[in-house]
């Protein structure tokens, strides 16, 4: 790619050192040839070949001097440096988010008088006045009613606390949506559908920018603290990818090559999940399974490195005070029994059914938000949903607290030391077993009370999450799904436990459950339920099981988790093949060619190619008879992304393909910098200038921007093969020829529309190129 037309490409030295002063960073970057338009797909083959060129240049220069050798080593190591930086920053941001959420969630209920920055638990950390029954209370932390009026109990205090809870929730969510609206509109939503699309080759400028990073971090804390039914895992993946993008811009190896940049972003997504769950391996598998598109195996090791660094950074910030990465890390190891697989599979079925219900309802609601008047009032919508959530959540103690704490309590086994309502069993006063092996006990009234409240909480959460996910604030979906599953699982677990205790002579229990033994662990049922619901919604398989067992720290529970995950995926797939993220991608019309979809129809390339029978003929350029004016008219009149170049209009033999953006920039450049180029100058794509009379103006050589090896298929190629080629090579367009003559063109949008048509979906919903 020699520079011969007046536009000089920067040498590697300039690229690496970032030529220019500080002030130049404030200037608008001049787009150079080879970059892409917003909302367009990249050309993977071109990016790969540019990277190979760059690498070859560096390797050949490294033999010249020691300095060049050092530079080539730095270039090789730059990938690892980027991973290290991503891990550090993601871990730090996740720690900040966790600490801030912890504090702000408790701020809705009261404040710590000795030091206002302490949450409830931290405030009572050093106090000596906590009792066994009221282990949460201490005089330093007071609820708002107590602070304002001096009364701690009574109807008036309750109503005042209720009112202030709602007020704080509304304030937080209003701040969140205003900040998103004013500073970074791309910071709303979960982020995972868009990141999946970006990683498959789509460009959304600004989606991974610095303001998006800042606003997403700040408003995520506000959104989670406001008590809405959403989680922070999906947004943390977005935050980590923004960090990845930020550090990519420090090295030209990644900033100038969109393909390499996406490798870094895959690894950053792994770091994001790793800090969200404290599961580095699960994070890498999630990135591999859900988010990434082309995942060269060499980034597997780098993703793992980034995930580990992030997890280590988070652990050293130590947000939860006990060296655990996640709030619901459980450590019991009680065994489970084969007969319990029946309730586990039932929980899997529940998870699959709930997943289907949620996806359909949420997509219907989001479609309504997209197309009707509802979408015109985003701030009002957020405030109303927060108001309703806070209003209904406060009376039930299980929904009043943050969802993570709820899940943590549901996962925990009831020893003799718990004093919560859920653990109100009748204890044998003469019991002297160690705390881990308590036999099954009859439930006290507290447990039945808790079951009622949990059932109400389950219904509430199922309904409200449908309206919450997709609002214009950062919102994730993992924690609400896990909460729904954990509540259902715990209810089933307590039911099974009580049945086993009271009816231990039934045939199903007689074989494995002796009276006086610890047969049933309701906490395990909660975990299995959480895995089932999360699997039903997202359709994750291996990564889900690995995340769940990294959360629990026990390999004993892999089989129940797998049983539930597999069942829920089967049940959910019976109703619809797409998970929540693929459904959102379809709703938005992103050009995402799913790797998992199989195309089994027997159409041919001629059926899909453009121009169709009634369309105007294909817009082409000739190799040496188009003038600059013709080209400019062509660009202005059409909006195609590129034009094939043929020998002449009569012979129609294909020479190559040229992109619209490259044409625009090259002609603009030529007009400004080269003299003699006017509207009637001839544009030629051959090596030598055409033979023209001397009176003609100077011709313009544009061979540099011509792609001489465009992909072609013949008209009788089956569409199955064409779809496979698009998917595996990441093409944007493919030319159709017959006996060497150009017939038409197939673009990615055409392929997606054809697939949608074949699946009886609306082909007009594919919006982007």
């Amino acid at each position: 790619m020699a520079a011969a037309e007046g536009v000089s490409l920067p040498t590697p030295t300039e690229e690496m050192n970032g030529a220019g002063t500080l002030m130049d960073f404030l200037d608008e970057p001049f787009p150079d040839v080879g970059t892409y338009e917003d909302f367009h797909t990249i050309d993977w083959l071109r990016e790969k070949s540019r990277d190979t060129d760059r690498h070859r240049k560096i390797t050949s220069k490294s033999k010249e001097s020691i300095w060049e050798l050092i530079k080539s080593l730095l270039d090789a190591w730059s990938g690892w440096v980027v991973m290290l930086l991503i891990g550090l920053l993601s871990g730090t941001l996740a720690g900040v988010i966790d600490l801030a959420v912890d504090w702000m969630t408790d701020l809705k209920e009261g404040v710590c008088l000795s030091a206002f920055w302490y949450s409830h638990e931290q405030c009572c950390w050093t106090s000596n006045q906590t009792t066994f029954a009221d282990r949460d209370k201490c005089p330093q932390w007071q609820k708002w009613a107590e602070l304002m009026t001096g009364h701690a109990e009574g109807a008036g205090a309750y109503l005042l606390n209720y009112f202030l809870y709602i007020l704080w929730a509304l304030l937080f969510s209003f701040l969140a949506v205003s900040l998103v609206r004013v500073f970074a509109p791309y910071a709303c939503g979960s982020g995972i559908p868009e990141i999946k699309t970006i990683l498959s080759g789509f460009i959304i400028r600004g989606y991974l920018g610095k303001w998006t990073l800042l606003i997403k971090t700040v408003t995520l804390v506000l959104a989670v603290s406001s008590g809405l039914s959403l989680g922070k895992e999906g947004p943390l993946v977005h935050v980590a990818c923004c960090c990845g993008n930020l550090f990519c811009s420090l090295f030209s190896k990644y900033s100038k090559n969109e393909g390499k940049r996406r490798e870094v972003l895959s690894a950053a997504a792994a770091a994001g999940v790793s800090v969200a769950f404290g599961a580095p391996i699960g994070g890498v598998l999630f990135s591999l399974e859900e988010v990434s598109y082309y995942f060269p195996l060499k980034t597997l090791w780098r993703s793992f490195f980034a995930a580990l660094v992030a997890a280590f950074t988070l652990r050293s910030i130590n947000p939860f005070g006990n060296s655990r990465l996640v709030l619901f890390y459980v450590e019991y190891h009680t065994p489970w029994y084969m007969a319990e697989l029946v309730p586990f599979i039932l929980l899997g079925v529940f998870g699959g059914l709930w997943g289907t219900l949620f996806i359909r309802a949420n997509i219907a609601w989001c479609r309504r938000r997209k197309t009707t008047q509802l979408g015109k009032y985003p701030v009002l919508e957020v405030i109303i949903v927060t108001g309703i959530t806070a209003l209904l959540a406060y009376p039930n103690p299980y929904t009043r607290r943050s969802t993570s704490e709820l899940i943590s309590e549901l996962f925990n086994d009831c020893g003799a030391l718990e004093s919560s309502q859920l653990c109100d069993y009748y204890n044998n006063p003469n019991m002297s077993r160690p705390v881990d092996d308590i036999p099954d006990r009859p439930a006290g009234p507290g447990v039945y009370n808790a079951m009622w409240q949990l059932t109400l909480a389950l219904i509430f959460k199922i309904v409200i999450t449908i309206f919450t996910f997709g609002m214009k604030i950062p919102s994730g979906l993992f924690i609400p799904s896990m909460a729904v599953g954990a509540i259902a699982g715990r209810i089933v677990g307590i039911a099974v436990e009580q049945m086993a205790y009271h009816h231990h002579d039934w045939i199903i229990f007689k074989n494995w459950c002796r009276p006086g033994a610890d047969c049933v662990t309701p906490g395990l049922y909660a975990m299995v339920g959480a895995a089932a619901c999360l699997g039903g919604v997202t359709r994750m398989t291996v990564s889900l099981v690995v995340i769940m067992f990294e959360l629990t720290g026990g390999l004993e529970y892999i089989v129940p988790l797998m049983a539930a995950a597999v069942t829920s995926k089967w049940v959910a797939d019976a109703f619809g093949k797409e998970g929540i993220y693929e459904s959102h991608i379809q709703l938005n019309g992103y050009p995402y060619l799913d790797i998992r979809d199989e195309f089994t129809h027997r159409t041919l390339a001629t059926d899909v190619m453009r121009p169709r029978r009634n369309d105007p003929p294909l817009a082409v350029l000739t190799q040496d008879s188009t003038t600059v004016e013709d080209v400019e008219t062509l660009i202005k009149d059409t909006d195609y992304n590129g034009f094939p170049v043929v020998v002449s209009r009569e012979s129609e033999r294909l020479i190559g393909f040229v992109q619209r953006r490259d044409l625009t920039l090259a002609i603009k450049n030529a007009r400004q910098k080269q003299d003699g180029v006017v509207s009637s100058s001839v544009v030629y794509f051959t090596e030598d200038a055409p033979q023209l009379p001397a009176s003609n103006p100077q011709p313009l050589k544009l061979r540099r921007i011509l792609n001489l090896s465009p992909f072609t298929v013949t008209d009788h190629t089956p569409m199955e093969t064409v779809v496979d080629i698009f998917r595996k090579l990441g093409l944007r367009q493919c030319l159709v020829t017959r006996s060497g003559r150009l017939l038409g063109i197939i673009t990615k949008k055409d392929v997606l529309r054809h697939m949608a048509q074949m699946m009886n979906q609306d082909p007009e919903s594919i919006m982007f190129n």
Partner: protein, 188 residues
């Protein structure tokens, strides 16, 4: 500016890490023993600032509520956990977060309320600000920016550059807002 932002983020990370290493006072470690009810004795929680090796029932539970021969039975039921936290990190993080939030809120109030008021008072300040309402379509993606920049090449100083950068940023945000909130094209 990109480089500065990266350096700043890195410094923040280091600062938070270092602050938690440096702030290890005795108040930040504790051993918490929870003892359930035993015969006539009620359940109790005992806390003491002892180190990991002394974190067991005998060192922490004081005064021992049962006599000599029952001590072992009582202590078997107690669960003692060693916990550490870093109060310095918590304080620094919350204060940094609140200050960033406060700055953003002030800037938001300035952008939405104060600046239009100031613009109305000083109309005719510059033609540049008026042109940021009409967004040019896809045909000429960078024509407007080049016109804007070329007009002011007569005054290439720092304030001007900052203002241009800010104008560009606001135009981008406006585009984003249009795609997300108005046309519902992305992120429905």
């Amino acid at each position: 500016m990109k480089f500065l932002f990266g350096v700043e983020a890195f410094c923040l990370a280091c600062f938070v890490l270092l602050s938690q290493v440096s702030a290890k006072n005795s108040e930040d470690i504790r051993c918490k023993c929870i003892c359930p009810p035993y015969r006539e004795v009620e359940g109790q929680i005992y806390k003491q600032n002892v180190s990991l090796k002394d974190c067991n029932c005998l060192h922490v539970v004081e005064p021992m509520p049962v006599d000599g021969k029952d001590v072992e039975a009582y202590c078997l039921r107690c669960e003692c956990k060693y916990e550490e936290r870093s109060s310095g990190t918590i304080k620094v993080t919350i204060i940094i977060y609140l200050s960033i939030l406060g700055l953003l809120l002030l800037y938001m109030v300035y952008l939405t309320l104060l600046e239009p008021m100031l613009k109305r008072r000083l109309f005719g300040h510059s033609q540049l600000i008026h042109s940021d309402d009409d967004v040019v379509g896809d045909q000429q993606p960078f024509a407007n920016a080049h016109n804007v920049l070329s007009r002011s090449h007569s005054r290439p100083n720092m304030l001007n550059k900052v203002e241009h950068a800010q104008q560009r940023w606001r135009r981008q945000v406006q585009e984003q807002r249009k795609s997300v909130f108005d046309r519902h094209v992305v992120l429905s």
